[in-house]
Symmetry: C2
């Protein structure tokens, strides 16, 4: 069980000591304590500082030995040369979990005499210490207090994120922590994030082991530069993907990429073909793009996994419908021609300019209940498709509100503006049943509104559970990869 | 010359009559007049309406014959069955340019008896009328009044766009008009946009002919479902790309895609391999993605075209640097190891944790003048690279401002907040020389700030001319395609 795994303690400390933190807003360690404050962390915080009496409002201690309890976790952000001594102090105090943020270890490839890694490993082994890093950004646990929406244990991520079921383990600090700025990614709820850095003591395999059994993790994201325990990884991945999808970015195999990696974590990357083969064999969803990584995670974490790769396209514009169909087929999805019977059924309800074959193009007809409820339901019920793309879920009132800012237009245009409440209940009415149908038929809908992601109507759709994208490029590619995973699961059954 | 081309009149009418417009905010024709109002169009507007005395504040006329002048252009948004009669009225009045928005022509493939297209073509030919459409969204000319920043001739696009040198011709109305909502695309200035619809009378070849010689067009974007005049297109494209790049989306070749096209414009799409061969032979930059279409246009319209495909990467984080290098090489770009001499030079100025080989990883060292000015300049001067990706142009004050919203953090964190003016002048100081160097060395820099595109620092960078992206996925792919175009130009020389 995940609760017995040693990483459980790293993610749920009741007390944390910090080496290297001060009150300077710009310093890395200060930012980590600021993250804790922002995350409303309820445990004890003990800054260790030779000169300061307090750091960010917490009483500071000159040495670890003075701290009134044995902290569950120690975080170190100091020059690498000071680290062995601190490890010894931790051993003496009885600390057994350290996060070592500092760089300056084996990634300095020109410094042949740098044996710091060996030194700290020995101290750790002799003192029963496990440590994450060096050269990492720490970690994040959104379920530290499951019942407190605003709280987390977080030293790594600058933003407050929605609690979710997606967990990341990453050999890059940026990929574990700094991909959440974009307001367009806020619908993806995060469970946990672990930045493993150089993996001197704890590696991706440990993290995957933990996530495999973690009840708060349903979808796993990995950023990989090198796998040190290839065999263990392979077995573990094979045992994980039947229940929890794994999305992986592997960076390596190119000359420039390898050069970047050497100086980054000191690892030598393997042939990308070997990695791709491992991913394929174990059902890992592979991507080169961080946005696609997040898009796939968003779709999967939603919990509705399509049964196959036949897609239905509902659109109110020909071009996007054609592009969706074209890209979908290029990426291995099927856009089946709908049956005669279903086409006849659709014909009775759409204008003569509409198209019924798939894509279903309603043209300018925007009968809202029909567009949002009836049409998707007819496709779902038919059994002819496994997932739906719906283009053109535009908030017409948002469009008009923008025009009405112009005085002349406001003076002459006849437009019945609806209240916020009416719009809220309209969105609820249009989405609620359809969201239930998605569950009922196990058919996800990927919605596309070309207007801003944070436009009022987009917000309303998202609030009601819609998986929303701004353009039609990304969701097609992401769903295609999800469907490859579905195919894998079918094969191994 | 472009000024003698018949499309010049379509794009620069001094007067326009509208069939089908009313005061209902939700109707398509009303939106077109609303676009004209918003665009501060200075010409005469004549709505034709049997019952209304005025439409959107413009005096309405019961018939075209009553309009006090011969309008330069007539726009029709009425049921297709009424269109032949209106064409006849236009002929009688002496009108010779029509935009036919209405659908209901050959795209209704189930309606075999629909000969409306033949009918209106005959009337047009007999009366010397040229027309755009049917089944289109009209057009946009941002240079209608070159000296008025706010003004354009626009019936198609809902947003007010920056005047630029990118022009679009599209067989999809959405691709010509509705891809501008995203605030992240506002740096791409638009020159003109033509939605050609079914091309009953005017086609993409006409548009390309016009753009080829148009002095306000430097970069051309095409959305193609079918080319009716393949030979003419090929010759014209070959003659255009040596001076003006063409970016094309071709949708066709897949079953679902073709089904979408048949019901959209009635065309039968060709084999995508033939199209790809034509694009390659004529140096057309091809993409399947609308966002990439816009990204490539943004880079090209900036006017700094790299001389080759060797890229330099400047980063303050290992992961993104590695991903950029990896994806770049996967897409045919070269990430050369920097010369010993250049590495030595870089070493003297960066901390020991930095990497100098390419990617150049400054790690946490953020000496701003060095990061924004010296480092790019050293790479540019070296002659070892042709373009630069710079990751991590984060506004640290933006980060801190966000943290300081928390009362406890605000109470304890020491941070010297700089004034808006100081930040403005900082950005100017950091960017101005570098932007000049980009011109001087013909080396573009693609900047990446993972924080919001509209964050204060991002805005400041963009205001000073930076080509900014939010993540590192898109700019790599877009630049790779730009570099393929560069290779093409070298070959044909």
């Amino acid at each position: 069980m995940s609760r017995d795994h040693f990483l459980q303690g790293f993610l749920n400390p009741k007390s944390v000591a910090f080496y290297g933190a001060n009150n300077k807003g710009g310093s890395l360690a200060a930012i980590q304590i600021m993250n804790l404050i922002k995350a409303e962390y309820s445990g004890n915080v003990y800054p260790i500082h030779l000169k300061l009496d307090s750091v960010m409002g917490f009483k500071a201690y000159k040495t670890l030995s003075e701290v009134p309890e044995v902290p569950d976790l120690v975080v170190i952000v100091l020059n690498s040369k000071m680290v062995p001594q601190i490890f010894r102090e931790c051993g003496e105090k009885g600390v057994n979990k350290i996060i070592l943020i500092s760089g300056g270890f084996r990634e300095l490839i020109d410094d042949r005499k740098n044996t710091l890694t060996e030194e700290i490993n020995e101290i750790a082994n002799n003192n029963g210490i496990r440590f994450i890093g060096p050269n990492c950004l720490g970690l994040f646990n959104n379920w530290y207090e499951p019942n407190n929406k605003r709280s987390s244990f977080n030293i790594a991520i600058w933003e407050r994120l929605k609690k979710g079921n997606f967990s990341i383990a990453s050999q890059s600090g940026t990929l574990s922590s700094h991909i959440w700025f974009d307001p367009e990614n806020i619908d993806l709820g995060l469970s946990k994030s672990l930045s493993v850095g150089n993996e001197a003591n704890i590696d991706l395999v440990d993290c995957l082991q933990y996530y495999k059994d973690d009840k708060e993790t349903e979808v796993i994201g990995l950023y990989i530069e090198e796998l040190k325990r290839g065999k263990e990884f392979l077995e573990l991945a094979r045992g994980t993907t039947p229940n929890k999808p794994i999305i992986a970015i592997y960076v390596g195999g190119s000359k420039g990429g390898n050069r970047a990696l050497q100086s980054h974590t000191g690892s030598i990357a393997g042939d990308s073909k070997i990695y791709e083969a491992v991913f394929k064999e174990t059902g890992i969803i592979s991507t080169d793009y961080v946005q696609e990584f997040l898009d796939i995670a968003l779709i999967l974490s939603n919990g509705i996994i399509p049964k196959g790769n036949r897609i239905g396209i509902i659109t109110n514009s020909g071009g996007p419908g054609a592009m969706i169909a074209n890209n979908a087929e290029k990426h291995g999805l099927i856009v089946p021609e709908l049956s005669e019977a279903l086409q006849e059924e659709l014909k009775t309800m759409l204008p003569s300019t509409a198209s019924f074959k798939n894509p279903v193009d309603v043209t300018f007809d925007m009968n809202l209940p029909y567009f949002y409820i009836t049409l998707p339901e007819m496709l779902m019920k038919s059994g002819e498709i496994d997932a739906i793309f719906q283009y053109g879920v535009v908030g017409f009132q948002d469009v008009m509100d923008d025009y009405l800012k112009n005085e002349k237009i406001a003076k002459y245009a006849e437009f019945q503006h609806q209240s916020e409440e009416d719009m809220d209940s309209l969105a609820e009415k249009l989405l609620q049943l359809t969201m239930k149908n998605c569950q009922k038929y196990s058919i996800p809908i990927l919605y596309i509104n070309p207007m801003s992601f944070t436009s009022p109507w987009s917000k309303r759709l998202r609030k009601n559970g819609a998986l929303l994208f701004k353009l039609w490029d990304r969701p097609v590619n992401a769903l295609a990869k999800v469907c490859e995973y579905v195919e894998y699961k079918k094969k191994i059954k």
